[in-house]
Amino acid sequence: MADAYTNMAVDEALAQARGEGKSPDTLRFYMWKPSAVTLGYFQSVEDEVNLDALKEYGIYLNRRISGGGAVLNSATGEITYSVVMDERDPRVSSDPVESYRYLCHGIIEALAILGIKADFKPINDIIVGGKKISGNAQIRRYGAVLHHGTLLVDYSAREMFSVLKISKEKLSDKMIQQAEERVTTIRRLLGRQINFDEVRDAFEEGYRRALNAELVPGELTPYENGLVKKFRERYASREWIYRR
């Protein structure tokens, strides 16, 4: 559990360390404290975010190195994961959609373990019964593939609508209802509360099956921690966040 700047710095550090051959392929689960909105690399702050609402709720703002859309990384409503692999790994296709399909498979397996039947929806979503439950983004850098994504455990449409400029129209109950119809959560599907450990255990097993990988628990290495410190400064800078 870390703030947005550290979380994004860790993902980039894992990618660099992997690309340099200093770390193995890595699977990471994490949460956000405080909640944060992350923008896709190519998005503009003014188009996507209601800065007054962010301030009011104490929500951080950050920008990913990956493309895709703005996400509200809620401290309580979702679990985030990243997969870092060698870019030359033949299992990871150079075709973006195939690469997403492959690396989303672990999440689909994890949801199956929890009793939820999910499907990959190109380009980068995972859906259950036509409703989005997970969004994903990838980047290739340093000789590594970084795939990170978020899985909705529970969420508040009202909070999401107040911080993200999903529409220029005034926030209305009708719109919130429409959002509820397009998005779903693990809690809603299971009809019960679910804790982080239970989801993480399913993730581990899901990715172990999907990648046919042996998973060894670990902490960041001193080298990775050094990179995190360096990258965190960039992620926390105004220049980075407001670059578009």
Partner: protein, 94 residues
């Protein structure tokens, strides 16, 4: 500042902000939730088009030629979509 936005059917949203002066592009920014690798290519394209005449056909050729030459990987939009939003923001047609 001229603006245009376009949701690619089955793909992502592209937004353009553009300014022109004396018949040439003087400012260009493309934003959206698409995926493009290497990501530095987008800024390179924006810089390349500064000073370009407001000629829709030339802009299409410049954009599609740039992405082909750079072998840019794009998901959620095509090179032609990028050219389309730039020309639409400028109010010109190929």
């Amino acid at each position: 500042m001229k603006r245009f936005e376009y949701k690619v059917p089955g793909g992502k949203l592209l937004r353009v902000k553009v300014e022109d002066r004396d018949g040439r592009i003087s400012f260009l920014q493309i934003t959206g939730d698409f995926f493009l690798l290497p990501e530095t290519d987008l800024e390179m394209l924006e810089n390349k088009l500064i000073g370009y005449p407001l000629d829709a056909g030339k802009i299409v050729d410049a954009v599609t030629g740039f992405f082909a030459e750079r072998k840019t990987t794009i998901a959620g939009a095509s090179p032609a979509d990028f050219a389309y939003v730039i020309n639409s923001a400028l109010g010109i047609r190929a």
